[in-house]
């Protein structure tokens, strides 16, 4: 309603984890911020489904890539659950990033073979 007919893409399977990890590289943030950040940065192209965001956050936490802590928000006088990247998470981000790059290149080679030739 706010953005009628606007094209919205679902997230490609498996990329959400990478996007969250990348977002957290800027510093600790809570779930709402992460969602908003991804949505805003892609000009609302990637619609954040809360139904996948929170399970994803907890999955990352379970795997030890992020840790969480209840902290006071600087602007609001309230506690939020802040997620922070761990060293293990930083390593994972590198892995996922390189995998994504390979994937994107592979897809690109099929889609735009001419570009590859030039």
């Amino acid at each position: 309603m706010a953005n009628p007919k606007q094209q919205r893409a679902g997230l490609l399977q498996g990329t959400l984890d990478m996007l969250i990890l990348r977002t957290l590289l800027y510093g600790p943030s809570h779930g709402h911020q992460i969602g908003k950040h991804i949505q805003r940065t892609t000009n609302d192209f990637l619609q954040m489904q809360h139904g996948s965001l929170y399970p994803a956050l907890h999955r990352l936490e379970k795997r030890g890539w992020v840790v969480s802590k209840w902290e006071m928000a600087p602007d609001r006088n309230r506690e939020f659950k802040y997620y922070r990247l761990t060293d293990k998470g930083r390593k994972q981000l590198v892995v996922e990033e390189s995998q994504w790059k390979q994937m994107a290149e592979a897809v690109a080679r099929i889609m735009w073979p001419a570009a590859e030739e030039s």
């Binding site: 809570h30 779930g31 709402h32 489904q49 809360h50 139904g51 996948s52 929170y54 399970p55 956050l57 907890h58 999955r59 379970k62 609001r76 309230r78 506690e79 939020f80 659950k81």
Partner: protein
């Protein structure tokens, strides 16, 4: 992960979503959305919070405990959905686990747990052992030790740390002025007995060597007497009590846990205290038990061989006395448990059989139920439930049933153990029988293995077939479930076979018990009341005083209205072996040196004894009132003694020389019929001495034959005794029938327990049979409908279904009878007058089982034959 951590995490997820949702709402407001709409807008952009929180939690919920909790929830719900099944299963488990745990508690306390003494593994009992084969045949090869033998063993070099002896005794305990007379069970222990066992007095001290003498007058109280009679007042130590009218000084109190060798003992005196010094020098007065402690570095065989050498020398030095050639030993724990070991093991076997049947039955019930839920399971596995999950669910279910059963069972077993210990009088009471950690662990292991057995059988059978096939299998295709039916039938066969073994054992034990019950002991047993008393030697210090009391009492009792006859003697038939003495026959050539003297049971009787107890006279005469102290010495023998030692000659007028009874010759004046000293034991040669001879007898038994209701005479007779001597306590007021029943109590107990287990197993097996057939009928409703629509007769259907149910019963019966033939070997030695392969028992077991099986099958088979074909086909 524990459940509170899960709770905490769940709360954390809730809080996180809540705070982020509120933030969204605030932001909506900051963007100018009216407050009342902000919440809705926030929710819209957020999505369904409940769903999100569930999905988020699901990330974690693969953890073991959480899925276990889920399984538990499902299982509890499933169990509550069919309460009938659950209650039956739990009850079956409770019964089986309870019974098994109880018996294990007893077995552990009696056979397995170490004795509460210092280094109990190195304590052994040493007995005299005769080479005479007739003694070994009667299992007399563990013979009590004579005092002089014990003293010689101890003073000669031996390989033991030390040896101690104790003897049986009984006292009349009174206060200092003869008040509150009470008959107390006592033991005389050598001064080194308590140090050897490692037992210390809790109050006061132990015996010293100088007190262990014939004139010693020290006494130690057991805790029981100390608490009961002296109110637990420690000032009793150092004071005097009177035993048989003689003052004794209390020097100490034994600890509460010390109940060796039996819990009825009230006082301990030193071994030699109160014994005539001459007795201590006898090598053939067998009345002591010897406990020895092995040295750590000496083997039992080694230590024993030295004692054996001493004993053989003693034998050679006393060739004409009953001095054994060898010694025999067994560990203290074996010694305490020997009478109950066999029945205990048999009961444990029986109860294990019942446990097995119980498990199989629960497995059977679960297989039946999982078969009924077959479609549900198929749908779930089609929707992606993994096979492991389904098996786990089944296991959790059987675990729950077993756990509930186990807890109920353990509670049940606490009560059952208590009952068993009070009823089973043979159980050694040197140690308390109670449940401990090991027993609890045993019960846990039991219920877990029961759960695994029951659950796995059911789970494997129900998940064996996958997915679509089960969905397609309609109720008409009986083939689809054939494998499962086969499994159930196999379970049933095993159940029935085990039941047959139990029934056979129970039948044999019962028949043997019935034989014992109906044995003729050889005297009047109806309406005969007996009671014991023992005249204290201090007050009745001459035969005349004793006779005066005894004759007055007899006269008064015989004059009581309703009393037919009264007898006075040392014992009545059926009351046990009592003492025995060796004798020689002066008219016969002397016995060759090196052979043991003949011996016979020692009894005393008054002139009216045999008439009152209706023991027939075969030859000669009964005693008269002239047969008493100071007159010619006379004796009456039983038929067996006459037969054994006077074959082909007239014993009347001959003499028996009895060394132990005044070392004099007794003229045989009569021969009476045989009586049994104990039911189930062969007759022994018996000598009857006139009770009017006086002498220091252990005690007397007054037997009164009444017209009816003998027990109603007990109080009037006790009053008569109190009138004659108010300080004289009366003991063991029992009818002869009660005495016999008491001696059979343990045989009756094990027979009825095994029977109880067998009957329960029979019920379980028939319930199993009924369940299987009911299930089959339900499954084949469609098929039967078709058969009937095509013209099958109701009788044919009935026959078909009956045959289906009876086949496993027949297989089980055959298998069980075959197994019984092997199993009865175990109980052979417990049978009396019953052959182990008694055809009547085997036949009646088979008949009982068949009848029960037919009844169990008849109801479902009849139901099947009543099926309305139209109804059956329509419901398809």
């Amino acid at each position: 992960m524990t459940w509170w951590q899960i709770r905490k995490r769940d709360a954390d997820v809730e809080r996180e979503l809540q705070s982020d949702l509120e933030l969204e709402e605030e932001e909506q407001r900051e963007h100018g959305v009216p407050p009342e709409e902000a919440r809705h807008a926030a929710l819209r952009s957020f999505g369904n919070p409940t769903l999100i929180s569930e999905q988020t939690r699901a990330v974690w919920s693969w953890n073991g405990l959480e899925s276990l909790l889920r399984d538990l929830r499902i299982s509890v719900r499933t169990l509550f959905r069919s309460p009938g099944f659950s209650i039956i299963a739990v009850l079956v488990m409770a019964l089986c686990i309870g019974a098994t745990t109880s018996l294990f508690t007893v077995v552990r306390s009696v056979l397995l747990r170490p004795l509460p003494f210092r280094d109990p593994d190195r304590l052994v009992m040493i007995y005299e052992h005769f080479r005479d084969p007739s003694m070994n045949a009667q299992q007399f090869n563990y013979n009590a030790v004579a005092p002089a033998d014990y003293y010689d063993w101890r003073t000669q070099p031996h390989g033991f740390d030390d040896m101690a002896a104790w003897r049986w005794w009984q006292f009349t305990l009174t206060g200092e002025r003869g008040e509150l007379p009470e008959l107390v069970s006592a033991r005389g222990g050598t001064w080194n007995l308590f140090p050897l066992l490692g037992v210390n007095a809790v109050i006061g001290r132990k015996f010293t060597e100088s007190e262990d003498r014939p004139d010693g007058n020290a006494v130690m109280l057991t805790w029981n007497l100390f608490e009961r009679r002296f109110g637990g007042n420690p000032s009793i130590v150092g004071r005097q009590i009177h035993l048989d009218g003689k003052p004794y000084t209390v020097i100490g109190v034994l600890p509460k846990w010390f109940t060796y060798p039996d819990a009825k003992i009230q006082v301990w005196v030193p071994y030699a205290s109160g014994l005539p010094p001459a007795i201590l020098q006898h090598h053939d007065f067998h009345f002591s038990r010897v406990v020895a402690r092995l040295k750590p570095d000496v083997s039992l065989a080694n230590a024993l061989s030295q004692v054996e050498a001493v004993q053989y020398r003693l034998h050679l030095q006393n060739l004409n006395a009953q001095v054994a050639e060898d010694v025999a030993s067994r560990t203290l724990i074996q010694d305490l448990a020997q009478d109950v070991k066999k029945p205990l093991i048999i009961l444990l076997c029986a109860v294990t059989c019942m446990l097995l049947i119980g498990c199989l039955n629960v497995a059977n019930l679960m297989v039946a139920r999982s078969a009924a839920r077959q479609k549900e399971i198929a749908v779930r596995s089609a929707l992606g439930a993994r096979k492991m999950t389904l098996i786990r669910e089944q296991l959790v279910e059987s675990l729950l049933v077993s756990l509930a059963g186990g807890i109920t069972g353990v509670l049940l077993s606490l009560a059952a153990t208590k009952w068993l210990v009070t009823t089973w009088t043979d159980l050694p009471s040197a140690r308390s029988v109670h449940a401990d950690g090991v027993v609890l662990a045993f019960a846990c292991a039991l219920f877990i293995s029961a759960a695994l057995l029951a659950g796995l059988l059911a789970a494997i059978s129900s998940t064996g077939k996958q997915g679509i096939a089960a969905l397609q299998a309609s109720s008409r295709s009986a083939a689809g479930s054939q494998a499962r039916t086969a499994l159930r039938k196999t379970l049933l066969t095993v159940e029935i076979a085990t039941t047959v073994v139990l029934l056979t054992a129970a039948g044999l034990l019962l028949k043997s018990f019935w034989r014992l019950r109906t044995t003729d002991v050889g005297c009047a047993t109806d309406n005969v009341l007996t009671m014991g008393y023992s005249l204290p030697a201090k007050k009745y210090d001459s035969p005349e005083k004793m006779n005066a009391f005894n004759e007055t009492l007899l006269e008064q009792v015989r004059a009581m209205p309703g009393v037919r006859a009264a007898a006075l003697g040392s014992m009545v038939p059926g009351a046990g072996a009592g003492e025995d003495d060796s004798f020689t026959i002066p008219e016969h050539p002397p016995i060759a040196p090196g052979t043991a003297l003949p011996d016979a049971l020692y009894r005393t009787s008054d002139p009216g004894y045999f008439i009152a107890l209706q023991i027939p006279l075969l030859k000669g005469r009964f005693f008269t009132s002239g047969d008493r102290a100071g007159r010619p010495k006379t004796i009456i023998i039983n038929r067996l003694l006459a037969q054994q030692y006077f074959p082909g000659e007239d014993p009347l007028g001959k003499h028996l020389h009895v060394a132990a009874r005044g070392n004099s010759d007794y003229e045989i004046v009569g021969v009476v019929a045989d009586t049994l000293y104990q039911v189930g034991q062969p007759v022994k040669a018996t000598m009857y001495f006139p009770v009017l001879n006086g002498g220091n007898d252990m005690g007397l038994t007054l037997a009164v034959r009444a017209a009816a209701d003998p027990l109603s005479f007990s109080v009037p007779i006790q009053k008569k005794i109190a009138e004659l001597d108010p300080e004289l306590p009366v003991s063991d007021v029992l009818t002869i029938q009660q005495i016999i029943e008491r001696s059979l109590g343990n045989a009756s107990l094990s027979a009825s327990l095994v029977l109880g287990f067998a009957v329960l197993s029979l019920i379980l097996a028939s319930v199993g049979l009924y369940g299987v057939l009911s299930y089959l009928t339900m499954q084949r409703t469609g098929e039967i409908g078709v058969r009937m629509a095509l013209g099958a007769q109701r009788e044919e259907v009935l026959r078909l279904m009956l045959g289906d149910g009876l086949r496993p019963a027949l297989y089980g019966l055959t298998l069980g009878l075959a197994a019984s033939i092997g199993a009865v070997r175990l109980i052979r030695s417990m049978l009396y007058g019953t052959r182990p392969l008694d055809p009547a028992i085997f036949a009646s077991v088979a008949a009982t089982l068949l009848v029960v099986a037919v009844f169990a099958c008849l109801v479902p088979a009849w139901r099947a034959s009543r099926i309305d074909p139209m109804q059956a086909l329509r419901t398809e």
